[in-house]
């Protein structure tokens, strides 16, 4: 499509929504209904106009699919016949599924921990150094890049040439310079998972960093100064004052990154597509959505597994929301 037809499509698409809100509200105001009984009517219609479109989208794209996916997990390949727990029984026996669960657990432990840790350390270092804000920008930058783009960047880092050739991947060049044999990093089972996790850590450290930076500024300066005057070392201040003070923030960052990691798909799909024992749930699910014409039953079971991982966070969020509403 040419740039003009694309631009026109975009314009029409957006204008439809602007027009809806404008004209529906305009019409409502035009037929001004001023008697008390009618005002109540007007208010209800207004509420419907305001929340209607969003509610329909929310229902069609989130609420209905959640229940439909759970229903489909008990149905066969095409979603026609009820098969009970058959799909779940298949999953438990499937070696790819087992591998995915193990890998996902590995991701869940390593990535949030290291991203949070690096973010916290860097935020602390950068706050005390005059070129800290430049450093923060640089470390934050991968947040703007797509996972696929990051995949290409790191695939190039991990590039492998035979032992005789000149290495063009930085990691192998370093390995060779240090006197080791070059390795095809992404094809070494178990270890390759860590090389993939490194990409996610590289990206998410930036997120942790900016949030910690903002939170660090809320620590009262007097507390820190008092500790310094008392002769506490910087390391001690970090462990005894900063970490306890940031407890809430650490928890929040942890959950955000955990949510992302549970859904990790792009990196695996672009780098290895689950080969060499790097399979994860989201990639396996995508695979089953299309493998052999698609199997909605198995795909739904896999999606449901990801949802189960999310449920503790969901419950915690709702709990906190309720606490907030009380105040």
């Amino acid at each position: 499509m040419s740039i003009f037809s694309l631009a026109l499509t975009v314009l029409i698409g957006v204008l439809v929504f602007v027009a809806f809100f404008h004209f529906s509200n305009f019409l409502l105001d035009y037929f001004q209904l001023k008697t008390p009984k009618k005002i109540a009517w007007e208010n209800s219609i207004r509420v419907v106009i305001f929340i209607g479109p969003a509610f329909i989208v929310l229902f069609v794209f989130i609420i209905y699919p959640v229940f439909e996916t759970i229903r489909l997990s008990f149905y066969d390949k095409l979603g026609d016949n009820f098969v009970g727990l058959y799909n779940y029984a298949w999953a438990i026996k499937d070696p790819d599924f087992k591998r995915s669960i193990i890998n996902n657990l590995g991701w869940l432990i390593v990535v949030p921990t290291l991203s949070t840790f690096f973010g916290l350390v860097i935020a602390n270092l950068a706050d005390r150094i005059w070129w800290g804000s430049i450093a923060k920008s640089i470390i934050f930058m991968p947040m703007a890049i797509s996972f696929v783009g990051a995949g290409v960047i790191w695939k190039f880092m991990y590039d492998y040439r035979g032992p005789g050739d000149q290495q063009i991947g930085l990691l192998n060049a370093i390995a060779v310079a240090l006197g080791f044999e070059p390795q095809a990093w992404l094809t070494i089972p178990i270890w390759n998972n860590f090389f993939l996790m490194a990409i996610m850590i590289w990206i998410q450290t930036g997120l942790a960093l900016v949030i910690f930076s903002a939170a660090l500024r809320t620590i009262p300066k007097e507390t820190l100064d008092a500790a310094r005057i008392d002769g506490a070392s910087e390391l001690k201040i970090f462990w005894k004052i900063i970490i306890p003070y940031l407890e809430q923030t650490i928890l929040v960052i942890w959950t955000i990154i955990t949510l992302l990691v549970l859904k990790v798909f792009d990196i695996i799909y672009a780098m290895t597509n689950g080969q060499w024992q790097t399979e994860v749930l989201a990639n396996l699910m995508y695979d089953w959505m299309f493998r052999g014409g698609g199997d909605t039953g198995r795909g739904s079971v896999l999606a449901f597994c990801i949802l189960i991982g999310v449920i503790p966070i969901l419950a915690w969020n709702l709990y906190r929301h309720k606490q907030d509403q009380k105040v």
Binding site: A135, S146, V148, L170, M285, L307
Partner: protein, 379 residues
């Protein structure tokens, strides 16, 4: 005093190590996208800043290029095709001895013909008899290659590999997928904050819960709906409006939540004053809330735009892979499969896909960070 300085030096060093480790991958990609594809395939990007020595093989031209001058036949040309700024310092004519001759010396081929190679690649090949072969002969050169960068890869990727079209497609996906949620969610968030209606609290709790529901839960049912819809009305199941609405759905909870959080912080008196003055909710929304929310809109716009621009999964499921619909990330993934060893295509393609996010990042970093922080402190 001395202790503090030492620890500060240590901090600086540690931070520097982090910075280098974080920037090196992206920097290497960028430099590689600017290098000649032949050099890129055989040497690391870190060697591109210095003059390097390379051993290469070239072929002379064949009989078609010969001219007769006096008693001899000559072929005069340049090994590189044109002057590329490389400096040859030794050359050879057999694979056993690839640096037998100094530049400027005359070398003898086995058939008795004589060749002289100059520093810049020019050569004179002299023979007593007419050249008969269509193909030229191999010449081995050792050359010093100064740092050189080119935009050729970008031309190739944008116009020949179809990334230019994918770039436009991504815009056509990302702009409405950002603006539509912003429009409908701002009304939604307004209603959640300032209007009283039955079921408001449940709706709010649903939004909070939806924030964390993985989008994988929605893929299969939505795809089924789209396929049925397409079959029923005889239209394509995968289309731009389809993906806009999908992105709107997946971005709805977070957009609403962020806006609700912001609107809550606006002073209640203002809203009440407007109401007393006889303003309807729509007037209040357009004339008071929207102008005040511009900074919040900016943050949310950036977050959602980057999310959509960088998305792969939704684009793969809800758009076709033919050239008029494929988005950048899907195209890049396709290149990773089909052109896996052509690093000039991959590095350049990746960088093209990163231009818009990086531009937004560097020009609007403040709003980006504000959005992230606002979303996290509560969420």
């Amino acid at each position: 005093m001395k202790k503090i300085r030492l620890s500060s030096l240590f901090s600086q060093l540690l931070l520097l190590i982090f910075v280098i480790a974080w920037i090196a991958p992206t920097f290497g990609l960028f430099i590689s996208s600017l290098r000649d594809k032949d050099v890129l395939a055989i040497s690391g990007w870190w060697t591109s800043f210095t003059t390097t020595e390379v051993n290469e093989i070239y072929r002379t031209e064949g009989k078609d290029a010969q001219v007769k001058e006096g008693d001899y036949y000559f072929i005069k040309s340049n090994l590189f095709g044109e002057d590329k700024g490389k400096e040859i310092f030794r050359f050879g004519v057999t694979s056993k001895n690839i640096d037998e001759y100094q530049v400027g010396e005359s070398a003898l081929f086995k058939d008795g013909t004589e060749i002289t190679v100059l520093e810049n690649g020019d050569y004179i090949w002299k023979s007593q008899e007419e050249f008969k072969k269509k193909k030229g002969k191999r010449v081995f050169v050792s050359a010093k290659s100064p740092p050189s960068f080119t935009l050729d890869n970008y031309k190739e990727v944008l116009f020949k590999e179809g990334l230019g079209q994918a770039f436009l497609n991504t815009f056509a996906v990302a702009l409405p997928s950002t603006l539509i949620p912003l429009i409908i969610c701002s009304f939604f968030a307004y209603a959640l904050t300032w209007m009283k209606f039955y079921g408001r609290d449940i709706l709010l709790a649903t939004i909070i819960a939806s924030l964390v529901v993985p989008l994988q839960m929605s893929l299969i049912p939505i795809l089924t709906i789209y396929n049925d819809f397409g079959a029923l009305f005889g239209v394509a199941a995968k289309s731009y409006p389809g993906i806009w609405m999908a992105h709107t759905g997946f971005g709805l909870a977070s957009t609403t939540f962020l806006l609700w959080n912001f609107l809550k912080s606006l002073p209640q008196e203002m809203m009440e004053a407007a109401k007393v003055d006889g303003a309807t909710h729509y007037d209040t929304f357009i004339k008071i809330v929207v102008p005040l929310s511009i900074p919040a809109f900016a943050s949310i716009f950036i977050l959602q735009f980057l999310w959509v621009w960088n998305d792969l999964l939704v684009g793969l499921v809800f758009l076709d892979k033919h050239p008029s619909e494929i988005i950048l990330t899907a195209k890049l993934k396709e290149l990773l499969g089909s052109r896996g060893e052509n690093w000039e295509i991959l590095t350049t393609g990746a960088f093209v896909s990163m231009t818009v996010p990086l531009f937004i990042f560097f020009s609007l970093q403040r709003y980006f960070i504000r959005g992230l922080v606002a979303g996290s402190i509560k969420g």
